[in-house]
Symmetry: C2
Subunit: 367 residues, 2 copies
Amino acid sequence: MKLICEGLDLSDAVLKVIKATASRTTNPILEGIKLTASEDTLVLSATDLEISIEKTIPADVKIEGEVVVPGKIFADFIKKLSNEQIELSVTNQNTLKIKYTDSEGYLACMPAEEFPVIKQFTDGDSFTLSKFNLRDAINKTIFAAATDDSRPILKGCQFIVDNNEIIVAALDGFRVAQVKHNILSTSNKLKFVVPARSLGEISKLIDGDDEEITLYISNTYMMVTLGSTKIITRRLEGDFIDYTGALIKNPETTIIVNKKQLEYAIERASLLSRSINNNSITFDIKDRLLTVASNSDLGNVTENLTISLEGKDLLIGFNARYISDCLRNIDEEYIKVSFLSSIYPCSITSPDNDSFTFVVFPVRLYE
Amino acid sequence: MKLICEGLDLSDAVLKVIKATASRTTNPILEGIKLTASEDTLVLSATDLEISIEKTIPADVKIEGEVVVPGKIFADFIKKLSNEQIELSVTNQNTLKIKYTDSEGYLACMPAEEFPVIKQFTDGDSFTLSKFNLRDAINKTIFAAATDDSRPILKGCQFIVDNNEIIVAALDGFRVAQVKHNILSTSNKLKFVVPARSLGEISKLIDGDDEEITLYISNTYMMVTLGSTKIITRRLEGDFIDYTGALIKNPETTIIVNKKQLEYAIERASLLSRSINNNSITFDIKDRLLTVASNSDLGNVTENLTISLEGKDLLIGFNARYISDCLRNIDEEYIKVSFLSSIYPCSITSPDNDSFTFVVFPVRLYE
């Protein structure tokens, strides 16, 4: 292998694919980035067997070939060379020579044959929506996915694709996040679960809002192409949990409150309960006032917010973090919060539509 | 105690004095911030018994008094209130009420009598220099001070004040940093050592370049006033190490090299030796070329830099980090590096003057 490419192209590509390398693994090849030179391109690819990212850049290829470089060191090295023209060549089977200006480096490499094959596919189902809607659906749900391994399916987001819309949802037993968006077309009705971590990487790679994007679904994988970057992620096997029972249909109490004011009030209240009191805060809804309060050995905070209330007065407790996580992902100036009683979860939505619904389970009050 | 002040003033002051609170201590009062309300000001002060920072802000004082609040929680709380007008009052002996807009918090406090007295002094010696020179002398030396406790005096910077200049120096056994600057006046010839950490805090609080600043020295303390902020730091007892023998007077080899180019070359070379090879790199000086190289199981890097050379060729090894630390603190476009031989330390200076001198000890080469 021998080629010349621009340092800026190469460092951009390396920083994109490095996200798919495995960080804690007993198999060093998964920490590597595979370089493939052919015709007039260099393809960089990496995978941890769950997600794979592949990026193609222009290159002046003198000798075709492929090699696997250690991901982290190669990335650190190339990052410091982004203004130079770079010559990459494999000098013997296991060494990559990196030549720039008057200097050069040699990196010990791994054989390309050992790198896992990343399957691309064009058969199977597909659906198309706007980039904005895809990114919005991902960003408003992945934070609610589980992070521990006790129920692996909950580390993913469920996609339900109908003729006109998708419903994306994630939950971890303490809260649910659900987003609905219009789609442009689909080959079929679909239902599948994809790891939240993969979706996070996809979201970060989406640029531009107005364009369309098509997602391809096989029995085991989802694939998406963003310019010269191709991402393939494994689907999670198993049935997702039916969370629809947690969505409130006929609330007993509904309030409209300024989002930012509520966010700040919860932040301040939770400061005093964070480490000591399991981060619990209370919402006391009465007349046109929401009182957010916390109490611990360190002191107590009482925040009064003006609201518009429909229905009954209510006293209910929450873990502040779960409410804050939802609020952080909302752009609306005002939000609607609906309650059934102090032992049922609340729903947080826009006052105007049901494009997103966040459900947060309450905590028991000891008073 | 009862007063009203601006949230912006209060949060600015809290963020300044919090730096002097102790972070790991068995004495909780040292994690606190003392609030003292009298006449038309609120004074905030904190100390870990090594450094103390005191800041005065305007306040509408209704009832004079003092109290000690838990530093971290108070700071986190006030940070989130910077746009409001805040009323602080002590409701009973051990509780501070914080009132803002329609909301309020109560913080458990500590009695002010237990807070250590911070001694201010006006007798003793003093010297005056420009803010620019003080900050420059601090920033170019503190990085070289020792961070472990094996020789406590080396955790400080030595100040030698003469009629016209100060010499500030720090060292940790691997490198020395020395800065000389003109001063405007002094009461006496002085020699003292101050903890590098305290100097770092003073440097961060210095704003503006042109103004003068006066440092007051007693037998055990140094004091400096920056606007409405007063900083007092303990002096370190004991004799500083005489490092002047490490400064090269008659070099055998002297090179002039582009600072940025050398910095980048060392960064890349050290990538491959960082974890494996004790971070060692070699300088090979020959004709008009400096070759910076590293070698490890991961690979090797050879960087060639054009230099101007006076004297003999030389091959010498360094720990890359110690050279990088020095380069990071240099603004000059070109630097002069002087050597005696491969077993003596090198000196890094400006090509034009001796305002700063960095000395770095070599490592043995195994080749």
